[in-house]
């Protein structure tokens, strides 16, 4: 299944969506290039789903412009945007067979029976659903339903795929497998993907670009590496990465006019530095994570190789941040300085 070359860049210009007094999306501008795998990442309620739905046409923006390719689509019906959507709940039609579900978008568009059966078969093949075409969604597992939803999305060959947390109902193992399948699908289809998730592992492993959102605004847009290596704010620094970046109190590591952050792998237990108390030692098998309390508001996690001797709970330790890997943020705004 191969697409003709489509130009499906997406441009959001000053898009806002307000529900009463709540600003779900607030003056967001974002460029998504043709064939990007763009991840909208953020905690619950940050406006990422609303932004996706605005692109799909399920929400009308309160202000701003949504462009797909060369067309401003603010007033274009969802069905005419050349966008398909995969929902978190899969939203399959429970009374239709898998085949009927997959064909449905084509049926609505008046494609004749033979053609749409052929297209459905192809899409089913791409997603390994051929043995299940006659079944109803109720008789499928979560992962299979998920793939039916994907097949329904790809069957009409849209220029843009919108996906709203499509993996969140799957168990951990299946999620990891499907993640890889989605990446392969993106490579294969060569279409533009816009993918919403709150899971930073999904974001880091799947997307070629990530937009990190908080409270309706975009905090940072960049490649996974950029976002990880050079987080634009304390929020991004702590949202990306497991465990999150350690933020030291202002003045404890460097001058008091900024705060210093360091990833757990760049934070070390030493004999001098920032005083802390060990709160918890977690043995993860391949490594040990030592959770330390610096003061009431600051905690830091140190990753050390398995087999190393570690201080016990409650012992006093000193922490240092590797000088080559320090991140500096403004005390007031939380924005990156260097």
């Amino acid at each position: 299944m191969q697409y003709d070359a489509l130009v499906a860049s997406i441009r959001l210009v000053g898009v806002s969506k307000h529900f009463g007094d709540v600003k779900a999306v607030d003056n967001v501008s974002l460029d998504i290039a043709d064939r990007d795998f763009m991840i909208l990442l953020g905690p619950s309620g940050c406006g990422k789903s609303t932004l996706l739905r605005t692109i799909a046409g399920l929400e009308d923006p309160t202000a701003g412009e949504v462009w797909i390719g060369d067309n401003m689509v603010n007033d274009v019906e969802p069905k005419n945007r050349d966008v398909s959507m995969v929902f978190q709940s899969y939203a399959l039609y429970p009374h239709k067979s898998v085949q009927a579900n997959i064909e449905f978008p084509l049926k609505v568009r008046g494609v004749n029976k033979t053609e749409r059966a052929e297209a459905a078969k192809q899409a089913a093949e791409v997603l390994g659903l051929t043995p299940y075409l006659e079944r109803r969604p109720g008789a499928l597992s979560g992962g299979q339903r998920q793939r039916v939803a994907l097949a329904r999305a790809i069957v009409r060959q849209p220029a843009v795929f919108c996906m709203d947390e499509p993996l969140s109902n799957l168990d951990a193992k299946l999620r990891a497998e499907t993640r890889a399948e989605l990446v392969a699908l993106h490579d294969r289809l060569n279409a533009t993907f816009v993918y919403v998730t709150h899971d930073q592992v999904e974001a880091m492993t799947m997307g070629n670009r990530i937009a990190v959102m908080r409270d309706g605004i975009i905090e940072q847009v960049g490649s996974p590496k950029e976002v990880y290596d050079k987080p634009a704010s304390v929020f991004v620094a702590q949202f990306i990465g497991t465990p999150p970046m350690n933020i030291f109190p202002a003045g404890s590591v460097e001058a008091a006019d900024h705060v210093v952050g360091a990833r757990p792998e760049h934070t070390h237990l030493t004999t001098s530095g920032v005083a802390a108390t060990v709160a918890l030692v977690e043995h993860l098998g391949h490594e040990i994570q030592v959770v330390c309390t610096i003061d009431a508001e600051h905690r830091a996690i140190v990753r050390i190789p398995a087999g190393t001797e570690v201080p016990g709970n409650g012992s006093s330790v000193f922490l240092t941040a590797d000088e080559n890997y320090r991140h500096r943020f403004n005390v007031e705004t939380g924005l990156r300085i260097s």
């Binding site: 069905k79 959507m85 939203a91 978008p105 609505v108």
Partner: protein, 276 residues
């Protein structure tokens, strides 16, 4: 809760005895009706509970003398019209209350529901007058139009429509379906059991209507089964069991409908009660 230590056999014995008693209460009138209808008229009053004589004459008499064929046809026409139009209006209004956005939706729905509190008897006189002024006495319009829309149907279907996940509506929207398409392709197929139950309810209710038809029919040709039975009862005093035979004839079609659609009825009543 105290632990139930009674042996299993005793418990089911008690349960079945209870059910049997209740069943006897319900079936007794049916039994006497059948017995009376199948006995010659002169034997009905001696040993009314014992089937000691048998004849089909009474049933035949009731059919011919009472013009039950004509009444049966009238009732069937009325019940079909009322049921089918009621389904259409209930689907349309319930869909609007579930999936469309319009100002004062809750208020309008509240007003709709409040009509459930008004008993038929209250509106009887006004409706009779309206039908009269429209010149619809002794007509199928008169028999059916006051019943073609019900708040009950709207309410029942709205409840099941509301259980359809919003994602499904949005998925359909992305697939290119408008409201009509979504109603036809998704919403209606998904609530089919409830539609079946609602259809059956309105069919039964319409079939058993007595008060309204008796108010607006004055010509014998327009009598329905129920009003026709009334005539039958007063037509031949020599045959007190004629009315019993008529009742049985009137009940047979509805029994058939019930037996055929029993599954639908139960499914509709329990729809949404258990997570599917």
């Amino acid at each position: 809760m105290a632990l139930d230590t009674a042996p299993k056999g005793w418990r089911s014995f008690a349960r079945y005895s209870m059910l049997t008693i209740v069943a006897l209460f319900i079936l007794f009138p049916v039994y006497t009706t059948v017995i009376a209808a199948l006995k010659p008229g002169n034997k009905v009053l001696e040993n009314p509970l014992v089937p000691d004589a048998f004849t089909l004459d009474v049933l035949k008499d009731a059919w011919s003398q009472g013009r039950l064929g004509r009444y049966l046809m009238n009732t069937t026409i009325v019940a079909f019209i009322v049921t089918s139009v009621q389904l259409v209006t209930s689907i349309a209004s319930a869909y609007a209350f579930s999936f469309l956005k319009f100002p004062m939706k809750r208020l309008v729905f509240g007003i709709f529901l409040s009509t459930l509190l008004v008993p038929l008897e209250v509106t009887l006189v006004v409706n009779r007058r309206t039908i009269d002024s429209l010149g619809w006495l002794n007509s199928f319009q008169g028999l059916t139009i006051p019943f073609v829309a019900t708040a009950f149907g709207t309410f029942l279907l709205r409840q099941v429509f509301m259980q359809i996940p919003p994602d499904l509506r949005e998925a359909a929207q992305m697939d290119g379906l408008g409201h009509w398409g979504f109603m036809r392709e998704v919403a209606i197929p998904l609530v089919r059991p409830t539609l079946g139950a609602l259809g059956l309810f309105s069919f039964l209710a319409s079939w058993n209507q007595y008060l309204w038809p008796s108010l607006i029919t004055t010509e014998d040709d327009m009598n329905t089964l129920q009003t026709g039975l009334r005539l039958l009862a007063s037509s031949d005093l020599d045959k007190p069991n004629l009315i019993m035979a008529g009742t049985i004839i009137a009940a047979v079609p509805i029994l058939i409908v019930l037996v055929v659609f029993q599954k639908q009825l139960v499914r509709g009543l329990t729809a949404g009660a258990v997570k599917g």
